[in-house]
Subunit: 452 residues, 4 copies
């Protein structure tokens, strides 16, 4: 009997290959789902079912694709806002058998109305649940966000409270298998640990320890979460069923001339933060490959034709895969770095990186026409920031650009400089000419302060 | 924070790569230990410690090898029969820190005197243990065997009982990470499941449910376990420290002539059961690659020069790896199958496979000078066997060969025919000419009986 | 500038990835053509063209599939019997440029009417051809077969003679890149070497050394080649354009019960020759995975639903791939070996393997109702055989089965025993009960004779 | 019969796995030589011999290592300056047999005194050579350099002329397999193509076409080649026999603090050119991983303790492998990028990248205290440069640093900007504060000029 986790790093998404004997199921498969088929075949197992814990808003579900590859049936909870076209509906108490493994459905609404958990039993042993796949209801160290129905916020927070009690009712012995790990945009304070039991969570998860329903609801209403616009697209795709990823995920290498003629909507530079700083193609948007899952969805249109700038084919491939998982299939090809283009006489640009000392002396010197722009999340900003810094979250820079002044020089900062570089690239695309990045950002700032 | 299992299938041995942030440790590493180094490097972690739960008797520990590759320190429990030369001693309450992970030592003797468990805490959360690495003290669904000190059997069984209570004292919330899974020779009734919590085991593990100390001891004394002779070698190696595996594990392909001239002590046929039946080189010993971990240790001397017969280089490589994990480094090379040798005029032999119907009619017909030889474990045999069948466990056939009669025709059987083919090859090596194998064995027999 | 060979072992088929700078082409791609796309992407090259040297009769061309994956254009020679729907036509003298590489078309009919060669020049150097991709016109050590137009045999042999002169006209300095290597069914005496120059061939290739046109024609007319029936299907598919391989090539593992219910047309046992001998499922056809390319096309219908019997998933996968390359997409799944089925009480069968000594004593003893059946190619048989042996080529056994007598016991032989086991399985499928296989066959026979 | 090329990209070094039947040899193996062992095992071949064409000066020979892994014998030509301790000596006419392949030794001194070529014959065909492994005597499109014995330059150039005639004597049909491809530091004008025949070279290789001995010698004496200082070390190692590469080639990730405490002699930044420009650790030397083979040997001492700065573990690993191939085993570990260090408050630096327009306006404006520094090879510089630019080859910057003025601002350039960034990092290490890099360099300059 196995419960094997498959993790997608960028999204911090966790899916599970489960089963016993020769029968298997997959819970919350991601879009590039060949991996589950190979897991099954290598173990001599057959995928009988695909279980969804809820309609994902942050990624394209692989459920319909996996179903068509394997002939498995897809199951989804009740109360979906619209009909999930590729799935049958499960409801409280429905049972499935995979060899010695028994699966029982527990309705656990709150994060969404259609959220269910799948409880795992070992029929060769006793009556107790041995594990529970909780989707986005219960995480390690946190619980799911409940901000998707703003006008019914109180109701769904209460529903989640009730669902958590139901899950706890399975007993402390049960292991917990959530749909996300630390780093996900689907929760705030997930633990940097991907294994736990209900008993451990009951004693240590701050949100589970809130035993008063009203207090719990209040706490949830006080949370603030960002919603990248691509969530809308995901919700739609996960009703109608997403298409498989394009066959070959290796983007084509293009020459500078070919790149020009592609008519790409966006030139996406997926190289490292410092490589973009050193030299980049004018007008390109900087999102390093590992940050695509968290940030691309703020800036890219669903149908955008995307040209990548990457150091090498592997980096381009990784970026295309990250994009594909969140529904962006418009990758046309990639250009290799910037040096080659420069050698052919193409224009390039750069972003200066400045240090804490420089920032400090500008602040002290009363630098004119200059401002610090902090692009972290609002809660990070509120936890402590450099006095006088202006705040706009990096994901909102594009839509709030008019709050900034093209005559002012901006030094962009975040926690390290990585999000700041995304921000700097956005500003330059929108015509800001005097932009640099505080490398090290708040980390370096605190280090400087602690020394002085 | 991670606890990642590395499984070696043949031995059903489980080792663990654990850690947090950039610091890692490995628990009970196997001999081919490059895998842990790569896990660490890929994650940007450094292996600081190697923890042994006890002196392994069924495999060569990779601890000293991993230590020399990484500079990590090896830790071993107290009370080892001799000095574990490559390790420092841990004792009750010793603590280690790896990023947010805290590890505490729990002495849990019983399986061996030097058994310890390592308890895992998440310092970012509370005081409760989140997991425990139990070695061979506690398995999923079973507990460790206690037959290694025959003259102190009662004492060590009692020690194990006490150790299990100590482990339970960590609380039901803790996840359990044992050193073996189902299929191991180190336990009898391990669950076919590799995840559990202490609370689940407390409620469902038959041996944990035995709350009476004397009853527990009595139950342990009633168990029977086999001890392959190579255990002695392992115990020695795991005191002095085993050498790394030979550099290149791909055995060389040899021609039939080269094979003849190698002076190999044993020709080991690692092809499938039916391939050996169809044709094999006279005098060769049949142990399919996947059965090496369980059976090779009964027949091979520590220093044996071994020539493999394999279908292809991959199969030869897998066999050499299985042999290396249990201390056999004497693989000289391999011969590819039997057809090529036959084509060059070399002699070959075969073993007839007979069906349940044939066995039944021989029994009914009172076949003369013929006997059924059942080579399963004694407890399998006692659970039910064909009337009149003689029993010798396959691992004991070599030493008890004189109980058999070279003038009698033997039909060897087990549960399926796989162990029976090993037995048939042993008989033929020892001069028995009339040997066949009951393919399907007890499985087929029961199917036949249920139809009639 | 590169010319990289991609070899498909079973078919001994050679395709080529060629190009210079960032531009590439593929010559005679096989059906599983992701490999070319990956080669291009890894090198930062774009596949601009797909060149076919002729309409392949022994495999499914990957040209239309590769074109749809890459947007490349497919090119095919003139005079195809029908319209090659997915290709444009090239003719003598057409030129293509890929970076520094220039490609010129040379019409070289004979093997087929539509055969062309592609001549490679390095524009950075001189006027001389540096290489020529000869398809099935010129091999290393042999030339193409010319038996596909029986009523115009003399004409096409003459055409080939003229084409070879044309190729020689390129100059001895040119390297030769043919479409097949040793082991192909497309030629008789290919060298066991895959590199040569025109000068070397001119001096050493027996068929190129035949400088007299009539003598050459006579020699070609005297050749005998087998034509597996699936050639017809290939010729058709390679006009209309084959479909891509099924998405996931790992066949599903089926239980014995599932296997029964699949309604498979043929149970194809792809395990080793000796494994089939040891035990197999009654009625199954024995073709080891590595022999599929050469023999499956004689026995399987284009639309056959095929159930595999394999030792493990990798073997099943390799077999499915070999089948797919020659157009058989009907693989339903696989059953793992025979021991498991036997254990469930399923029937099994075996084939005895006999030695040269046994055959000799049967011959000497005048064994009654017994015959030797030699299933080698007719030319092998005519080169020397055991007196009294009956000859039917293994590929013709099914259609000539009525020439054999079900009351006679047959010992099947070939050169080693491998084809003989295929033959034995065919006989048993057709109701012959007394069948064994001479393991070692003519090889062992000669060894025995040389000793006596 | 096979001749398979193994290419090491950085060094543009070509080694060969050759053989026939079950017998193989390796010609000029590289240091990381497991690859040859795996090639042999996968094909069921045994490596019997290791052939060296000459004592390599640009890389660590894997010959003694491969010999100890396989038991093969190493062969080296006569007249080595010292005794090659791990090899036996071959001389003109010595023959070796590998299955059908025959190998004959041809003494071909000139590049070195000990240079030999290995001529390949196919015994199954005729008397003609089918190929020749020419080492550094004859390349595709060029011949070997003859500048290693400055006081006997005329003599060795003449020797090479004679050797080339000897090679030509094998006949135009023979294929040529040299020890280097385009990009090697061992020749000047190698073709960007790795396949040819003697006939093609005779007609198209400019140096082979020089049929007059004196003219050939004059031409060789007029060539200028750089000799990185590490050549001395290689020559020594390849007499006494290099050690195997360190076991595990994945460098350890170090934290900034650990990095500080390692006492590394050099911090080697192997990230991309633009990443170094964007931000780097002060004092670090910039050599992107792919440029290590060509440039590291100018700057690093044989015993240097090297700390890498890399984007990720894969890049660090590739760099360590490139370093190991040229004898640098002192890699201590790696630091991941610069952002993390900056976030901890560590200092960083950057290099501005300037465009052709900027350079042009500085030139036109008569920028004071500013100079262009061209670091290309002398022959590139002499072929055309920007007026007023100072020339020092990048490999000589360290030793000629005092020719530069710390009060002057330097804009470093090369052909693209890549070597210029190495140069800029060297200047900054040596205390030059006003340094930027002309990105695009001569390529961009020509593009600008062609527009105006």
């Amino acid at each position: 009997m196995i419960v094997e986790k498959v993790k997608s790093d960028g999204l911090a998404h966790l899916s599970y290959f489960i089963g016993s004997g020769s029968e298997a199921a997959v819970v919350d498969p991601r879009r590039d789902c060949d991996i589950y088929v190979e897991m099954a075949r290598r173990r001599g197992m057959t995928i009988r079912h695909v279980f969804e814990t809820h309609r994902n808003e942050d990624l394209v579900s692989g459920a319909p694709i996996l179903a068509s590859l394997t002939g498995a049936k897809v199951w989804h909870g009740p109360n979906a806002d619209g009909e999930v076209r590729y799935a049958d509906t499960v409801k409280e108490g429905d049972e499935f058998t995979l060899g010695d493994m028994k699966i029982r459905v527990l309705e656990t609404p709150g994060h969404t109305y259609d959220s269910v958990s799948y409880v795992v039993y070992d029929a060769a042993f006793g009556e107790d649940a041995i594990g529970v796949l909780t989707g986005d209801a219960l995480f390690v160290g946190d619980v799911g966000r409940t901000d998707f129905y703003p006008d019914r916020a109180r109701e769904v927070a209460g529903l989640l409270f009730d669902s958590l009690r139901k899950i706890e009712g399975l007993g402390g012995q049960a292991l917990v298998y959530p749909a996300h790990g630390a780093g996900s945009v689907c929760g705030g304070n997930l633990a940097d640990r991907e294994f736990t039991s209900l008993a451990y969570e009951a004693a240590n998860n701050p949100m589970l320890k809130l035993r008063d329903r009203d207090e719990f609801i209040k706490s949830k209403l006080n949370e603030y979460h960002y919603q990248p616009p691509y969530f809308r697209l995901m919700e739609h795709l996960n009703l109608v069923g997403g298409a498989p990823l394009p066959d070959v995920m290796h983007p084509r290498l293009l020459t500078a001339e070919e790149a020009e003629s592609t008519g790409a909507d966006v030139w996406l530079d997926v190289r490292s933060t410092t490589a973009f700083a050193g030299a980049h193609l004018p007008g390109s948007l900087a999102i390093p490959s590992s940050m695509i899952a968290a940030f691309a969805g703020y800036y890219l249109d669903a149908e955008a034709k995307i040209l990548l700038i990457a150091d090498n084919p592997e980096q381009a491939r990784a970026a295309a895969c990250e994009l594909g998982r969140i529904g962006y299939d418009g990758v046309i090809g990639f250009v290799k770095g910037v040096v080659g283009s420069a050698q052919k006489g193409e224009a390039f640009d750069s972003v200066a990186t400045v240090s804490a000392q420089t920032v400090a002396s500008r602040l002290n010197g009363g630098e004119a026409n200059w401002s610090l722009l902090d692009v972290r999340k609002i809660d990070e900003f509120e936890d402590g920031h450099i006095e006088g810094a202006q705040h706009i979250f990096v994901g909102h820079l594009d839509e709030r650009i008019e709050e900034l002044d093209r005559n002012v020089a901006y030094t962009v900062l975040c926690a390290s400089g990585a999000r700041a570089m995304i921000g700097a690239s956005l500003l330059k695309r929108r015509g800001f000419e005097k932009v640099d990045v505080f490398l090290g950002s708040m980390g370096a700032w605190k280090a400087l302060k602690s020394k002085s």
